[in-house]
Symmetry: D2
Subunit: 280 residues, 4 copies
C-alpha cells in the first residue's frame, strides 16, 4: 500500500497548508491531489490530500507523529489507504433500480465500496442480493416491532462505515438517525427542498414543474432536511403522467446516489454544519 488519502477538519488558521504539507514532505509523501476549503461563515477548514510514498508508509508511526501536530492545530484527521473501501450497509425496500445500479457498479465498474450486507423490510430483492453473493437480511417492520427492527439495523450498521438508504421507504426513528448521524445517507426522489416527504413525484406532477430531481443527503432527525451531498434534474413536460415521472426519475436517483457514494468513498465529503463540503 503506497497511496494514501489524508483528510483534515478544524479551525482555519495561518500556516495550515505549510505545516501539513511539510509534515508529508518530510516523510517523502508525494502529493498527487490536494484540495481544501476554508469556510468564512463557520471558520472551519477542510482538506483532502492524496499522496504517495514510494517506499511505503508506517501508518502507526505516522499517526504517532501527526497526532501532536493535529492536536496543536485542533484538527480532526483521518488517514486512509487509497484502496480502502468503506464497508457499506444497503437498506432497501421493494424498488430495485438503485440496488441494481450499485451492485452492478461494484462488480463491474471498480466502484470503491465493499457491500457488507443488504437489509430490507421486504424480501422482493433477496434474489438480486443472492445473485451478487451479498448477505441479505429480511427485517420486516410494523409499528410495534419498529424498535426491535431498528435495533437489528443498528447492529448491522455497527460493522459498516457507511449506511445507504437506497430507496428504503421507512422513516428512521430519531434515535436511529442520531446514532447514524454522518454515516447514513439517503436518496430522496425530488429536488430538495421542494417536495419533501411522501410521494414527491405526485407533488411535482401537481405543481407542474418542468424539471424533476433527485437529492442525495445525509440522514438527520428532521425528515429530508439533512446536509445535501448531490442533486441532479431531468426535463419533463405537461404530457408526462405521474407514472412516467416515476420512471424517468429512477435514472437520476440511481445516478445521483452512485455519485454521492463515490464521493464519500473517495473521502471527498465533509459535513459542515447544515451543509456539505465536497472536495474535488
Amino acid at each position: 500500500m503506497k497511496k494514501f488519502i489524508l483528510t483534515l477538519t478544524g479551525p482555519d488558521q495561518l500556516g495550515l497548508v505549510s505545516k501539513i504539507s511539510t509534515f508529508l514532505a518530510e516523510r517523502k509523501g508525494f502529493i498527487l491531489e490536494q484540495a481544501q476549503f476554508g469556510d468564512v461563515a463557520t471558520g472551519r477548514f477542510f482538506m483532502r490530500c492524496v499522496f504517495e510514498c514510494h517506499e511505503g508508509l508506517d501508518t502507526s508511526a505516522f499517526a504517532k507523529a501527526f497526532d501532536p501536530l493535529a492536536n496543536r492545530l485542533s484538527m480532526e484527521w483521518h488517514l486512509f489507504g487509497s484502496h480502502e473501501k468503506p464497508r457499506t450497509l444497503l437498506l432497501v425496500s421493494k424498488e430495485a433500480h438503485c440496488l441494481n445500479d450499485l451492485l452492478h457498479r461494484v462488480r463491474h465498474n471498480a466502484f470503491p465500496i465493499h457491500v457488507s450486507a443488504i437489509a430490507s423490510n421486504h424480501d422482493d430483492l433477496k434474489g438480486m442480493a443472492e445473485w451478487y453473493g451479498i448477505p441479505f437480511h429480511h427485517l420486516p417492520v410494523t409499528l410495534e416491532t419498529k424498535p426491535e427492527q431498528e435495533e437489528q439495523i443498528a447492529q448491522l450498521a455497527e460493522n459498516a462505515d457507511l449506511v445507504v438508504l437506497a430507496r428504503y421507504m421507512q422513516i428512521l426513528s430519531p434515535e436511529l438517525t442520531r446514532l447514524l448521524y454522518g454515516k447514513a445517507i439517503n436518496i430522496h426522489h425530488s429536488f430538495l427542498p421542494s417536495f419533501k416527504g411522501a410521494k414527491p413525484y405526485h407533488q411535482a406532477f401537481e405543481r407542474g414543474v418542468k424539471l424533476i430531481g433527485a437529492t442525495a443527503h445525509f440522514v438527520s432527525d428532521e425528515l429530508d432536511e439533512g446536509p445535501i451531498i448531490d442533486q441532479e434534474v431531468i426535463r419533463v413536460d405537461h404530457a408526462h403522467s405521474v407514472q412516467e415521472l416515476v420512471m424517468l426519475g429512477k435514472d437520476i436517483e440511481a445516478f445521483v446516489l452512485a455519485r454521492a457514494i463515490r464521493h464519500i468513498a473517495e473521502r471527498r465529503v465533509f459535513v459542515n454544519a447544515r451543509k456539505t463540503v465536497i472536495l474535488k
Copy 2:
C-alpha cells in the same frame, strides 16, 4: 401574410382533429406544424397548428366560417399571423441583465416580440431603454402611492398583449394580478417551488443546494405560485458565496425568461388550471 398559427382549447372529444384539419384543408391550408395535448385529468384539449395558404387567407371570412364550428365544439380559438408579434410591456427595477438580454434579442436575433414600453419603479435602466429607442416610464412607488402607480401600469398593460416582470422587485396587488391573469409572467430567481419569496439565493445558500435555478411562471395572486412555464438550473458548490450565486443565476434567469417569452410569442403556451401546456 400567408403563414398562420391557429390555437384551440376546449373539451376533448372524438373527431376534433378531423373536423379542424378538414376545415383547414378546404381553405387550402397546408399544415406545417401541428401539436396537441389532451389532458386526461382536466378533460381539456389543446392544439396549435401552423399552416400556410399560398393564395393568402381572408381572415374575417375564416372567422365567420370557423366560429360556428368552434361553438359546436365549445372551443376557444385564436388565429394569428405567424409574424404577428405580441406587444409587450416590460416591468423592471434596477437589475439590468434580463432587460439587456431581451432588448438585444429583439434588435439582433429576430426575437418575436414588439416591446411597446418599459416601466420601472426606478430610473436606473432609463439609459438602456433610450439607447434601444423604447419608451421608458419611471413609475416610482411607495406604500401610499401604490394604487395610483398600479393604475398607471394597468393603463400601459391595456395596450399590451403580454406583460413581463423582468426582475421587477415589487409584489403586485391582488387586484392587478387578477386583472393581468394569463397575460403577465414573472421570472423568479429560484427553482420553484423551492425558495419562494424574498432573497431566494440567500435561501439556496443557507440550504446548501448543489444546483440553483430560475423559473418563468404566470403571475397569480398567490406569490410565486402561478403556473410554471419553464425552468432551468446551474451547478454550484460549497465554495460559492451568495454573491456568486446571484451572479451565476443571472445567466439562467435571462435564458429561461427569454425561452418562456419566445414560447408565448410563438403561441405555444396554454394555461391548464394550475399548470401549463407547452406545445412544441
Copy 3:
C-alpha cells in the same frame, strides 16, 4: 387491445392530416397523441398517431380500408397495438453495463421491448443472460469464421424487429449492415461525429475535450456514420484519466441507448435520408 399507434411516411401534400384523422374518426378512433413533421428539404411527411377505440378495432378490416387511401397518398404505414413490444436481439461483447441496464429496465421498469435473444462473440455475459432467463448465443468470431458467424446473427435477426449492438465490439460486414439497415442500432461511445472508430475515449483524452458523449445511431455500412437517434454528454476535466473517462462514459452510454430504444419501441423514430425524425 384498444390502443393503437399508427405511423405514416410519404410525400408531404395538402390535406394529409384531414384525410387520415377523418379516417380514424369514422372508426371512432379517439386520438390521444399526434405528432408530425414535414421536412422541407426532402419533401417527406412523417406522422405518429396514438388512438383509442373503446369498442376495439378490427385491424384487418382497418388495413383493407386504409390501404387504398395510403396508396393514393403514396404513404407507407404501420399499425401497432400500443403494447406490442418489438422483439429485440441484443448483441454484446464483454462490457456489461448496457446489457445490465437494459435487462433491468425490461424486468423492473416496464421497458417496452421483448428481448428474444442475446448473442455475443464472448461468453462473459452468459451468466447475466441466464439470470434474466434470456437465451444466450455464444458466437465466437475470427477473421476466417466471420461470414458463418454473421450468418448466425442474420438468422437470429430474422426473428427480431430490432437488433441492438449494446457495446458489441465487432464491425459488421457491409453485407450484414445492408441486410439490417433500419433495423439495427448501435451505441457509440463518443459524441459523433467526433471520435469515430476505435478507442474514442482515448481520442477524447488526447484532444482534451471538456465534455464526453455517447451516440445512439442506426448501423450503416459507413462506420459510425448512420443516422443519429440520440446523444448525451457529461462534463469532464483535465484531471480525469482515460480510465475515468471510460467509467464516466458508461453511464451516458447506457442512458442514451435506453432512451433511443424506448423511442424506437414507442414507434417515434423514422429514418429520413441521412438523419432521423423523432416524433414526441
Copy 4:
C-alpha cells in the same frame, strides 16, 4: 491591495507544496484557495493559490525572495493582485451577441476584465462600442491589406494581456497566431473537434446531431485545433432549421466564451501542451 493570486508551473517534484506554502506562511499569507494538478503524462505541475496578507505585501520584496526558490524548482510563476483585471482586446466582425454579452457583464456584473479596445473588420458594432465608451478600431481587411491590418491588430494586442476573438470571422495568419499564442482565445460555434472550419451549424444540420455546441479555445496556427478551455451544448431536434440552430447556438457561444474569459481572468487557466488545465 491585500489579496493575491500566485500561479506556478514547472516539473512536478517532491515537496513543492511544502516549500511554496511555507514561503507564504512566513510572509503571513493566509491561503484562501489553493488548487493544483500534477500531470502524469507530461510531468508538469500546475498551482493556483489565492492568499491574503492582512498587513499588505511588498510585491517586489516578494519577487526578490521568491525568484531564487522558483529557480531552484524550475518553476515559472506569476503574482497578481486579486482585483487586477487583464486588459482585453476584443476582435469582432458583424455578430453582436458575444460582444453585447461581454460588455454588459463588464458594466453590470463585476466581470473581471478591463476592455481596453474593440477592433473589427466591419463597423456594424461601432455604435455598441461607443455606448459602452470603449475605443473602437475599424480595421477593414482584404486579401491584399491583410498584412497591414494584422500589424494594426498586433499593435493593439501589445497593450493587452488577453485577445478575445468574439465571433471574429477572419482566419488569423500563422505569424499572428504565433505572436499571440497563449494570449488569444476564440469561440468556435461547434462542439470541437466536430465541425471545424466554416459554417459549423450547416455541418451540424447536415449530420443531424441531436446536440449542438460551442467551444472556447486558444488560438493556434492550426485552425480550430488549439487547446480547449470550455465547451457547452444545447439540445436540438429534427425540426430545427439551420437558422434556428444559429439562433439557439448564440446563447451557448456567449455563455461559454464568458465562462472561459472569467476563468482566464481569475488566473485559473494553464496551457499544458495541446490541452488546458483549469484549476477551480
